[in-house]
Assembly symmetry: C2
Homo-oligomer: 229 residues x 2
DNA sequence: TAAGGTGGGATTGCATGCAAACGGACCGAC
DNA sequence: GTCGGTCCGTTTGCATGCAATCCCACCTTA
């Protein structure tokens, strides 16, 4: 990204924005952030520029940076992009085939999640952490198997959205997570069978459904929250 | 992006990279760029960081920035992404419908290109410029009609690739450009008819074909350059 | 001769100072 | 009372200085 300290500040600032510690439209002052982080204005300025490039801040010349507001339409748009691009990754992975190592990691991720979800009770913190980790392994492995250098960075930018990002992610309803793990199995089977088109559309559907679930859990009135798309 | 001077430097640096004025892997030194641009190191540093975020430079702590090499596989990957995302834009535009203004601009773009291509002779500079402009209007209008804030920035990053970017674009073969304009007509008709799926796949096909043509024109041996995908 | 260590030049990383631009408050005029 | 203008505090934008790191060549030693 940039340089050692600036890089760390950029990540810290990003996490604060994603965690919702600033309100939308808020003006971020360099000196204020600098003393908050115990650094000088120079690395802070780089961190601001980096987060602006990531779409989290808006810049005006001579006026500085404000945090960009996000609305439900943006969340829907982000999941549209995610579905499309992860679908591409699944298709490419199927066309190219998975390495033994990739296949092993995917199998392990699916199996571990299945074990964690064997109960119907609410998940404790450890179980939630395990789910997050292995869910991420599944997706990341497919993305890395897709042989397209543009996929990973693009996905990162559309996934880093305030109010919908991994640490805040899901309601952790075991029924939902089991459904997702079934999706994962289906996608894995299609990739192994080298059925690229099926893998693409199953992945697209998987991401779309997950997005609708998340948006439903965010809406105050959860009746048909996702169906309006 | 960043601040006034730094912003200008960032664009100048980007254009130099895209124009191929540095070789892949070349180390860009801050002081050298600073005196080349007649500025100090501070805005140069910001310009370097911005271009790194755009994927044109690679950064290593305490070692600075090197220009990232691109190979034919990267070009193919970029067109894969472009086809997918512009397809999404076409589908969304069809689903939402075009404004009268957007429809007018698209019609004008298609008609103007048709007039420019009425001859079979090689295009002069003015004709090439006209084609570039109106081709861009067609694509941009659809992208702006898609109502997804992530589409435009993502497309920009996958289109800004050394050796394949608008000013260097096409061989300007009138037969090819007429083919593209026919594609545009078909896409326009689908969008107007609110046939989102057809619009999506026609756009995807259009971009894919254009990418194969470009890659064929770059390859030394142009036999089946695009068919290997 | 080859391997390892060491010193110096060059380059990046960060802090700070100064100039320019912005924004808001106060004041005056109509 | 409202509109327009001017002044001043605040903030950003850029230049520069200094410390830390790195790279490379040279030297030492086995």
């Amino acid at each position: 990204m940039t340089q050692p300290i600036a890089q760390a500040l950029s990540a810290r600032l990003r996490d604060m924005i994603l965690a919702g510690e600033f309100r939308g439209g808020q003006h971020l002052r360099e000196v204020q952030l600098a003393q908050m982080f115990g650094a000088s204005r120079t690395p802070v300025r780089l961190a601001l520029a980096a987060n602006e490039k990531d779409g989290l801040l808006a810049y005006s010349p001579n006026r500085g940076y404000v945090v960009r507001p996000f609305d439900p339409g943006d969340i829907a748009g982000a999941f549209e992009m995610r579905a499309l691009i992860e679908g591409l990754a699944a298709r490419k992975a199927a066309e190219r085939g998975l390495s033994d190592e990739a296949l092993r990691r995917i199998a392990e991720a699916i199996d571990t999640v299945a074990r964690v979800l064997a109960t119907d009770e609410a998940l404790d913190d450890g179980a939630r952490e395990a789910w997050r980790t292995h869910n991420a392994v599944f997706h990341r492995t497919i993305i890395e198997s897709a042989d397209n250098r543009f996929i990973a960075p693009t996905l990162q930018t559309v996934q880093r959205i305030p109010s919908v990002y991994p640490p805040v992610l899901a309601s952790y309803d075991p029924a939902l997570l089991r459904k997702y793990n079934d999706h994962h199995r289906g996608i894995r089977d299609c990739i192994v069978a080298r059925q690229g088109v099926r893998a693409e559309f199953l992945m697209r559907e998987h991401v779309t459904v997950a997005g609708e679930d998340i948006r439903a859990s965010l809406h105050p009135a959860p009746e048909l929250a996702g169906a309006a798309e």
